[in-house]
Amino acid sequence: SQELEQSPQSLIVQEGKNLTINCTSSKTLYGLYWYKQKYGEGLIFLMMLQKGGEEKSHEKITAKLDEKKQQSSLHITASQPSHAGIYLCGARVSGGGADGLTFGKGTHLIIQP
């Protein structure tokens, strides 16, 4: 089973509207990362969250890690065409053996003008 579940899988939002993407794990998350991927390109780092309750913002994007460190949300305010792409959450999951990140399947975001 997928260790990191992202929802929704895809999202179509009218330009200017707000949106939220969620990343949920059944295990404790350590070093939760949000990346953005443009179609056919590499991953661009957005934000990193480590502590339960932590919240970070950059421009119009805010990410939070809940107190129990098992869920994170990414919120975009007043969406713009430049926000379109695939948003991936990645994390070090408790009990994970290999020293890499576990990723969700991604959320495809489309911004309609």
Partner: protein, 114 residues
């Protein structure tokens, strides 16, 4: 800094052929990783390295091999390519372990095995 570079960008292989995907970083990072991304799926860890001369298996290592003779380079070798290895391959690096330091990703290599 060039960051993380990968070559080639695209490659088509026939079943049974072999190839090496190149990855290099100029940030003096200790940790390097290889992931694969299949359509509609998240990235899965193939191999990783915590420093020159040290490599270890990730979640999906079968059919691949790696080496880490220098800090800068981390090539991924495919032996006897199979259609199941059709994927986009990403190399990444970080200075510290993933729970405390972000990973920098290369642009990816799109591989098709026919």
């Amino acid at each position: 800094n060039a960051g993380v570079t990968q070559t080639p960008k695209f490659r088509i292989l026939k079943i049974g052929q072999s190839m090496t995907l190149q990855c290099a970083q100029d940030m003096n990072h200790n940790y390097m990783y290889w992931y694969r991304q299949d359509p509609g799926m998240g990235l899965k860890l193939i191999y990783y390295s915590v420093g020159a001369g040290i490599t270890d298996k990730g979640e999906v290592p079968n059919g691949y091999n790696v080496s880490r003779s220098t800090t800068e380079d981390f090539p991924l070798r495919l032996e006897l390519a199979a259609p199941s290895q059709t994927s986009v391959y990403f190399c990444a690096s970080s200075y510290a372990p993933p729970q405390i330091d972000k990973q920098y990703f290369g642009p990816g290599t799109r591989l098709t095995v026919l």
